[in-house]
């Protein structure tokens, strides 16, 4: 019955020569192949099949196989084909050209070679409206991600929804007791960056409303790679690299530091004592240690290996992949991050093409070994330069010099270690059946099991020997699990109505999650080598355990209609129920309308504006919600005290809180000029988030710091996003493309009735962004005392919040990325610049304090330095404390950063074919190579603290990719 299958080969070219990467597909099937570097391809097909040749920017060609075994094709450039790319919208796909919503996409080529742990980091600078800020420099830390700004007053209420192959992944960072506890652990760490086919970010109402209550902060869809080729292919890739801390602060040297310190006592007319000036009286006056070099001067290495095999036949295809990623940290000690992943994709279509099954399995294990249980950077930038050693020659902690000063080594605890091992299993099974040409039924079954086990070892030798008589070897254990399944049956209907096309989708979601964690401390191990083995612990204590259930259900629908592929309308709706809310508040409805008009199809445009190759107006309006709030907040509940027998209330309860509602409005225009060689897009958006669901901060008089509640406040995020891509040059050998994205976000608290009567009265201001600091007005130094002064605005003789009238915007004024891709013959070069316009704060200017300060403070020794008179008097301390909360330490912190560079070279195919290799690519990539900024802190990407924290490391890596 099956027709005779035959081998077919050929070359694909266009006017300029052979084209690599043309997708050749057998019509009606998922199987196919890509052309190689020289435009050649091979596949097997039956004479009755039709081959479809598609390539970006070219007209699609369909050719019946017939009796041919060699099919050479010349593709023609096409003005509109660039827009034929399918974009994943979650429950359905749309063509780039025809989408009514705002969806940004990055593809494998742009991200797969980057030496990073979490896929999110790869999005930095690549998408308009997507702001990703790292939390620090340790591998595994969760970054902050904001899509179109902060909607919720709660920091933790701003995570987008992550969906991997249809399975929602809890986006809240994973709890940890380790050094990563500030940020938590990124739940996407265990994914293999190389296994990602594309990441789509859904932003506006049209795109996100189908996710209803969880779409308010945008949706990130991650799609893993599928096998698309018919014949068996193996791809192997390896790279390794080195990372360093890209920046240093300019700090005082010992001589300057001690001079300033002495000056403080001289100015105050007091005698230094061993208690308040051990750096002057006890410690070596000539010693100098560059503590930055000691702690941040190291180099960490990265190794990454990837292998995948794919193949299949006319009805079945598969892809198997595996990877290893390992990297260290720059800090002393043996911190090490390892990740091993495995993935499977399987797709089968029945011979009558009615039934389809696809299965994706992603399994990742990562093990993060972390040294120390302290935040190194806060101490590194506090150490006097003449402080005694921190470590002895053998790596143990040094105590003597510190003891002389009556202190303990600030790096006490550095010999602790923690090991976090996480397993993440994400699988999705999609079953679909085509009932007729018009109706098909599909069910997605998803399951996610995440488990992380954390063991921290706290050996005695990590602590001061003076305390050893009361210290035991100790271990802290923390286990976290997240377990979730989802079932989504869907019914799809599509039909033609005259020149119109109608697509209808109707579906339901049932989801259940259980999250939990349990912790334990073991003490009294007789030997350091036994730490962690609870059987060897003398005492188990601090046991904690909690299990949280979350249930969610929804009905959703989408109707898309277009007339003549020129007018488009898209309606989406969802009814959601969530267990996070109290009885009576669990359900809500969300919906959106989107429309588009491709006006370049209109004849008057075609004749009147011939240079305009594409033009589209697009708009949408709708509502989404947000249920990202702790579970059980409606319960008035007690929990066990850490000590035996007791119960105590741990939270205030509010039975009445309900969904946060986010109304999104968007208008956009997309234009293509000169046969789409220049594409331009501009979106204007306005998201209004109301009924704000917050952990409403309460004064301590209530007994607690906050309560879950809805606020009458409305937060507006609006802005412009501009995207432009140009094909600057194209010839047979040389191709140069540039793309630019820039976002001008504006965040504003637009209304909050009676804010004066609320606990936000002195935190937020109506008419201003949420991310503000209310500051004292700096008033110069007092000519008499020489101390900093701030304005007593209300003249009541004291300084408090009523005097903090200066409003400092701590957000970004604009940001974006500029990407260039150049290829010349076999060489390709890609580089991405990231830029941000913002203000930042810089501390470490307390000249005279015990502890290192910035080098510029040496000026304080002179008159009129701009710094206050060097002093340690109480008045001076208070003045410094106040000026830190004034406009004084704020400066411009804009930056321009060469975020990634990658250079690749394809070895000539002729040579490779003799050894059976299809292609071989050598590549070298660089991350954070260059930052141009006027900001004096470690990293302008993290400008709101004291200037001592930093995110991305400078990494250079090189590797090879082989295809067989």
């Amino acid at each position: 019955m099956a027709a005779q299958v035959q081998a077919i080969s050929g070359t694909v070219t266009d006017a300029l020569g052979p084209i690599p990467g043309v997708h050749i597909l057998i019509k009606g099937q998922h199987s196919g192949t890509f052309s190689d570097q020289d435009g050649r391809y091979q596949l097997t097909a039956a004479p009755s099949d039709t081959l479809v040749f598609t390539y970006l920017g070219h007209k699609t060609v369909e050719l019946p196989v017939g009796s041919h075994t060699q099919i050479n094709v010349q593709l023609k450039e096409d003005v509109t084909a660039l827009q034929e790319v399918e974009v994943n919208a979650g429950y359905y796909t749309v063509k780039e050209r025809e989408r009514t919503g705002n969806i940004s996409k990055v593809t494998a080529e742009e991200i797969e070679l980057q030496p990073i742990v979490s896929p999110l980091e790869a999005l930095q600078g690549r998408m308009a409206g997507v702001e990703i800020v790292p939390s620090g420099d340790l591998p595994g830390m969760a970054a902050t991600i904001r899509i179109r700004g902060q909607n919720s007053l709660r920091e933790e209420g701003n995570f987008p929804l992550y969906i991997l192959n249809g399975v929602p992944i809890n986006s809240a960072p994973i709890e940890t007791g380790s050094n990563l506890s500030n940020s938590g652990i990124d739940p996407l760490n265990t994914l293999n960056l190389n296994n990602i086919e594309s990441i789509e970010v859904l932003k506006d109402a049209d795109a996100t409303a189908i996710y209803g209550s969880r779409g308010a902060n945008g949706v990130i869809l991650i799609t893993t790679k599928k096998g698309t080729v018919q014949k068996t292919e193996i791809e192997a890739r390896a790279y390794s690299g080195m990372s360093t801390v890209p920046n240093r602060l300019h700090l005082l040297n010992t001589e300057q530091y001690l001079q300033i310190r002495r000056k403080a006592f001289e100015n105050d007319g007091t005698e230094p004592t061993e208690r308040n000036a051990y750096d002057l009286l006890v410690w070596d006056q000539d010693r100098y240690t560059d503590w930055q070099e000691t702690f941040l001067g190291g180099t960490s290495t990265i190794t990454d290996l990837n292998i995948s095999a794919s193949g299949g036949n006319a009805t079945t295809r598969y892809r198997l992949g595996g990877s290893y990623h390992g990297q260290g940290t720059v800090y002393p000690g043996d911190s090490k991050y390892h990740k091993i992943t495995g993935s499977l994709y399987l797709d089968h279509t029945s011979e009558n093409k009615k039934f389809n099954l696809n299965l994706s399995v992603n399994y990742g294990v990562d093990v993060n070994h972390l040294t120390g249980s302290i935040f190194v950077t806060s101490d590194v930038f506090n150490m006097p330069p003449n402080a005694p050693p921190v470590f002895n020659g053998d790596g143990s902690l040094h105590w003597e010099g510190w003891a002389e000063a009556g202190r303990t080594n600030p790096f006490e605890g550095y010999l602790n270690s923690s090991k976090i091992a996480a397993h993440n299993f994400i699988t999705n099974l999609g079953l679909s059946y085509r009932l007729s040409n018009k109706i098909s039924f599909k069910t997605n079954l998803g399951y996610n099991y995440f488990n992380s086990g954390e063991l921290s070892k706290l050996p005695k030798r990590s602590y001061n020997p003076a305390n050893w008589d009361v210290l035991d070897h100790r271990s802290d254990h923390l286990d976290v699990y997240r377990n979730s399944w989802i079932i989504e049956p869907q019914l799809m209907y599509g039909t033609k109505l005259g020149k119109g096309t109608l697509d209808v989708l109707f579906g339901a979601t049932v989801q259940q999650s259980e999250n939990g964690q349990s912790g334990l401390t073991g003490t009294g191990y007789v030997s350091e080598s036994l730490i962690g083995n609870l059987g060897a612990a003398e005492l188990l204590e601090n046991a904690s355990s909690q299990n949280v259930a979350y249930r969610y259900s929804a009905l959703f629908a989408r109707m898309g209609f277009n007339w003549d592929r020129q007018y488009f309308i898209n309606l989406t709706g969802r009814r959601d129920g969530s267990s996070r809310f109290g009885p009576g508040n669990r359900f809500a409805n969300f919906g959106a309308i989107g429309g588009a008009w491709i006006f370049s199809e209109a004849s008057f445009i075609k004749t009147g504006l011939p240079f305009l190759s594409f033009g589209k107006f697009r708009g949408s309006y709708g509502t989404t919600g947000n249920d990202q709030i702790g579970d059980y907040g409606y319960l008035d509940a007690y929990e066990a005290t850490v000590a035996p027998e007791g119960l105590y209330p741990t939270q205030l309860s509010n039975p009445d809180y309900s969904w946060e509602v986010n109304k999104k409005l968007e208008a956009a225009v997309e234009l293509g000029f000169l046969k789409d060689r220049i594409m331009f897009g501009a979106s204007w958006y306005r998201n209004r988030s109301s009924n704000q669901l917050v952990g409403y901060p309460l004064p301590g008089t209530t007994g607690f710091a906050s309560i879950q509640a809805n606020l009458p406040a409305t937060v507006e995020n609006s802005g412009w996003e501009l995207e432009c891509s140009t094909l600057n040059f194209r010839s047979k050998d040389l191709r140069w493309e540039t793309s630019l994205n820039i976002s001008f976000p504006k965040n504003e608290l637009i209304s909050y009735p009676d804010i004066d009567q609320s606990s936000y009265a002195n935190t937020y201001k109506v008419g201003h962004p949420l991310n503000i600091a209310l500051l004292y007005r700096y008033d110069g130094t007092d000519p008499e005392t020489g101390l900093y002064t701030i304005a007593d605005v209300n003249g009541d003789g004291r300084f408090d919040y009523e005097d903090r009238v200066e409003i400092q915007d701590r957000g970004r004024q604009y940001f974006g990325g500029l990407n260039n891709a150049v290829s010349y013959k076999k060489i390709s070069l890609q580089f991405l610049w990231q830029f941000v316009k913002q203000d930042g704060r810089m501390a470490l200017f307390d000249a005279g304090a015990l502890g290192i300060q910035r080098a510029v403070t040496v000026r304080a020794l002179e008159e009129d330095s701009g710094f206050q008179r060097i002093s340690r008097s109480v008045s001076a301390l208070l003045a410094y404390n106040n000026v830190l909360n004034s406009t004084f330490p704020y400066t411009d912190a804009s930056f321009l950063r060469l975020k990634t560079v990658s250079l690749g070279y394809h070895l000539p195919t002729e040579v490779l074919q003799t050894i059976g290799m299809r292609s071989c690519k050598l590549f070298i990539t660089g991350q954070n190579l260059l930052t141009i900024t006027g900001y004096e802190g470690m990293d302008p990407e993290m400008p709101n603290g004291t200037g001592t924290v930093f995110g991305g490391l400078r990494t250079i890596s090189c590797g090879v990719q082989l295809n067989f």
């Binding site: 009932l435 204590e541 319960l635 005290t641 119960l647 105590y648 004064p699 301590g700 009265a761």
Partner: protein
């Protein structure tokens, strides 16, 4: 055919949706207990009270740790000094220049109000429940009222006018303005009187960490002394001194701060910490390997020759060349608990009665009481050295005696200086920044930021 299938499928989806109402209902998780259930039986209701006793050790205000009344009021009264050159928040207390945004001050305030909340929660839970036995109900009400009064006594003395909150309703508790000192005291006295009426005289489980009638009386004695109701103060202190044989002044000063010592009226157990360390926080602050504070030299020097308290309760660190409080002998340990944090003890009751008697003109009785303390300290008795002493001279000696007896215990010195109007004389002499209004800690700015109705006191 197709249509029927479509309809069937739609029907299935609809069924799913209609069952969703139940589907999104989740059970109470196993680490939580709903409040009504807690107060549904005696055992768990008593656990809620036990929870307060446990949390007293962790709440910064009562913990005896760096942000406790003992530490912060001790710094302010110059009983103790700050050993860390970089601890700016402690320096502000030491210099009596506390900025409203001082985080220790906020922690102190919030800790006390957290205790108020817990006490109010127990009171509301007890009232709402009809499942509790009569005895347990009375006991819980009495103990909770005591805790509330206890927290307010410190709040009103530290901050002056403070909001008086008697419910757990956050809507009212979030926006209160300050109540007058008199109103707060009225509530404290009313709560303590209720506690006296409701509570038994024995210590539950034999532990002096539990509040009984005498504990409430002891705090009443102090409260009436602070409010200058001399007759009542004399009477309440007398109940402790003469009305019971449960308490006595211990001759051996090294025994006083041991757990369940017979001098103790009320203590807080380090068991509340919930981990292996079994020492008190007070001990850790003063005598661990890296203590936070030292004992002021002029306090250490003020002891007369032969004062046993200087020998037993004051230590000297050679390496650091500083004195340190040595009432607690256990600064860090993981063995059995030997000491509890002392909150109320009998010696204070003698000093209260001595002062109350003196203020009422009964100098003989006053000398008699004061001499009990002097006798134990191994000092010559006033009855022998100066039986005809004037009242004012007596009060001066009494204040000195309170200083030496009660140092580094719950800020006694600070409150004594404040209530007797001696603060400016004692603390202002060597401090050019001192102002008379510095006797109040400022209302924390964090609180005023969140509660627009909360006014500032003069202590800023």
């Amino acid at each position: 055919m197709q249509k029927t299938r479509l309809i069937k499928t739609l029907f299935l989806l609809a069924v799913c949706a209609s069952s969703c109402e139940d589907y999104v209902e989740v059970d109470v998780p196993d680490h939580k207990m709903v409040r009504e259930v807690v107060f549904n039986n005696d055992e768990t209701a008593l656990s809620a009270m036990k929870g307060i006793y446990n949390e007293l050790f962790r709440s910064s205000f009562s913990s005896g740790n760096v942000n406790s009344v003992t530490a912060l009021a001790g710094l302010s009264a110059h009983e103790i000094g700050n050993l860390s050159a970089t601890n700016l928040t402690a320096m502000e207390f030491e210099a009596n220049q506390i900025l409203p945004n001082n985080p220790s001050n906020h922690s102190l305030w919030s800790g006390a109000y957290n205790m108020v909340y817990m006490a109010n929660a127990v009171l509301e839970g007890t009232t709402a429940s009809d499942q509790l036995s009569e005895g347990v109900r009375d006991q819980l009400e009495g103990e909770a009222k005591f805790i509330r009064a206890f927290a307010y006594l410190y709040l009103v003395n530290l901050y002056g006018e403070v909001p008086l909150l008697l419910t757990t309703d956050y809507r009212t508790n979030a926006v209160p303005s300050r109540d007058t000192v008199g109103e707060v005291y009225d509530q404290i006295i009313s709560d303590l009187n209720d506690a006296v009426a409701l509570l038994d005289t024995d210590y539950r489980e034999g532990e002096r960490t539990h509040v009984n009638r005498y504990v409430a009386m002891a705090l009443l004695a102090r409260t009436t002394l602070y409010t200058e109701k001399w007759e009542q103060a004399e009477n309440w202190a007398g109940q402790l001194i003469d009305g019971t044989s449960d308490h006595e002044l211990l001759a051996d000063l090294d025994q006083v701060f041991l757990k369940n010592s017979r001098e103790a009226i009320w203590q807080i157990s380090p068991i509340g910490r919930g981990n292996i360390f079994t020492n008190t926080n007070d001990g850790n602050l003063f005598i661990s390997a890296f203590p936070s504070f030292y004992l002021a030299k002029n306090l250490a020097d003020s002891f007369e020759d032969g004062d046993k308290r200087a020998l037993h309760w004051v230590g000297f660190n050679e390496g650091r060349n500083e004195y340190h409080p040595f009432k607690y002998k256990d600064g860090s340990s993981t063995n059995n608990i030997t000491e509890y944090t002392m909150v109320l003890r009998l010696a204070e009751q003698y000093l209260i009665r001595a002062e109350a008697r003196a203020m009422q003109g009964n100098l003989t009785g006053a000398i008699d009481d004061l001499d009990r303390i002097r006798q134990r300290a191994g000092l010559p008795l006033l009855a022998e050295t100066d039986p005809a002493i004037s009242r004012n001279a007596f009060l001066d000696i009494l204040m000195e005696e309170r200083k030496k007896e009660l140092f580094t215990e719950w800020g006694h010195r600070w409150f004594d200086l404040k209530r007797t109007g001696r603060a400016s004389d004692v603390l202002g002499t060597n401090n050019p920044l001192w102002q008379d209004t510095d006797v109040l800690f400022p209302v924390p700015e964090e609180e005023r930021l969140k509660n627009p109705n909360l006014g500032q006191n003069q202590g800023q």
